[in-house]
Amino acid sequence: MTVASPIEREWRRHTPRQRLARFALYFGLVAACVVSLRTVQFVPEFLYDAPEQMADLLRRMWPIEWAHYPKGVHEALIETLHIATLGTLLAIVMAVPLGLLAANNITRHVGINYLAKLLLVSSRSVNSLVWALLFVAIFGPGALAGTMAIAFRSIGFVGKLFGEAMEEARQGPIEALRSAGAPWGSIYLKGYWPQVEPAFWAIALFRWDISVRESAVLGLVGAGGIGMAIDSAMNLFQWERVALMLVAIFAVVILAEIAVTFLRKKII
């Protein structure tokens, strides 16, 4: 009689398997942190004088060179906004068909669904800076490379979310239209579109907000916009100008966020 009677059995929240998995996770986490801490290379002397260096940086940044704004910043800032907006628009144009191909209630073919999803995943897993590097090599430095980078990075994001929104559309209105003999154009325009429209605008605005932030750094690899101005100012140690550009980016990001919040309330 080795089996414990039910009354003596101790109640535990997790099965042994779950406990083992959690233990493995904690162990792995601690091990990863310890190993990284022991092997990471940094010079302690740099850390000691970090406050001093930071103070020096701020001193060099002050006073902010406001006079430079109309000369070298305004144009680059507008270019950044154009890169973000046009890139997002281009991404939407390419992502909507891909999203339709990836949605299994629109395209009833598992192979095509899978292929479209693969394309969307590969677009997302390459960072926008890497996309920018590739397009700079193809189109040369400039805003065109930046626009393409933003577009190709955004396709995966927009396409995935749009495809999922299409999959969640209710079938009732679609069936009603179909049984009334509506052509396929009407089915999409009057059946699917009104259902996915709020999601579509939410995705587009969200992505545009992210694109504005990302397009500000694409210039560091030569893909146009304010990043290029920052890069050259930094290389010449003109920190007063760098400070001005950082303030400008901050203002644009905040304004973009306010605009997105406003439009979201208005449209959705």
Binding site: Q18, A21, R22, L25, L29, A32, C33, S36, L37, T39, V40, Q41, F42, V43, F46, L47, A50, Q53, M54, L57, E79, H82, T85, L86, L89, S122, S125, V126, N127, L129, V130, L133, L134, A137, I138, F139, G140, G142, A143, L144, T147, K190, R213, E214, A216, V217, L220, V221, I230, M234, L246, I249, F250, V253, I254
Partner: protein, 264 residues
């Protein structure tokens, strides 16, 4: 009788504001494209360049000394991701708690929320530039930059999750006379722990992605090696590094799925 039927409004009313918005969007797209000076000739040379570019990328570099250099870069990238996530998660817990408006007084939540917004508003690479100046080239700058970015993301979502919890459990624990720390430990944390784990794993994943990039401005990791290969037109080595980064991201993504399953 018949008149009432015919007077019924049409099923699909034309939405003029929306149509005008669409037309404006199309006009903008045309205008912005004209600024970019995209021409057919440029497109053709671009395609030509693209083919040559891909041709020079193939086959990927596999020379032993460059492979060890790349592996060292990947290893440093992982170190940056692990340490910045650990530091970011640890700091986000208290900061997120301080920013929750249902637990803390307004004079505490407002400054904290401002701090979080400041952490969020700049791209990681720009923060990395500032830290490279402060602590010099190397992994430490990357760790600090990604820590700041992690705080901006996790602390914000954590605060929002806390604001959504049910107040009944808090009341029950307060009614037993529990001190403040116990209210947090037994009333708040059990309600938000799963979501916090979700945010943390998501942030670890995005830290891995971003730690491959901060090297471009000299903040350590594989990004520096990659950017150097790009600037030296060493495109076949660039392809090797890109493939390694994509493999790293895929491993990290499956790891994220596993952690989510453990904690669901």
């Amino acid at each position: 009788m018949n008149a009432a039927v015919t007077a019924r409004p049409p099923a699909f009313v034309p939405n003029w504001p929306a149509r005008i918005a669409w037309i404006a969007l199309a006009l903008y797209a045309g205008y912005a494209t004209s600024i970019l000076d995209v021409s057919w000739a440029r497109f053709v040379t671009g395609v030509d360049n693209g083919i040559r570019f891909v041709g020079r990328m193939l086959p990927p570099e596999t020379e032993a000394s460059k492979m060890t250099l790349m592996l060292r870069g990947i290893y440093e990238t992982l170190e940056i991701a692990v340490l910045s996530s650990a530091l970011g998660i640890m700091l986000s817990l208290p900061i997120g708690l301080l920013a929750a408006r249902n637990l803390m007084p307004p004079w505490l939540t407002w400054p904290t929320r401002l701090l979080i917004a400041l952490c969020r508003s700049f791209h990681q690479v720009i923060i990395a530039i500032l830290f490279v100046k402060a602590v010099g080239f190397g992994a430490l700058a990357g760790i600090l930059a990604l820590t700041v970015a992690s705080i901006g993301f996790i602390a914000k979502l954590f605060a929002e999750a806390i604001e959504e919890i049910s107040a009944k459990q808090l009341e029950a624990i307060r009614a037993t006379g529990a001190p403040f720390m116990n209210v947090i430990l037994y009333g708040v944390l059990p309600q938000v722990l799963t979501r916090f784990v979700g945010f943390a794993t998501y942030q670890f994943d995005s830290n891995i992605r971003n730690s491959t990039m901060v090297g471009i401005v000299g903040a350590g990791g594989i990004g520096g090696t990659m950017f150097a290969a790009f600037q030296k037109f060493d495109y076949d080595y660039l392809l090797t590094i890109l493939l390694a980064i994509i493999a790293l991201i895929m491993v990290s993504e499956s790891l994220q799925n596993w952690v989510k399953k453990v904690y669901q």
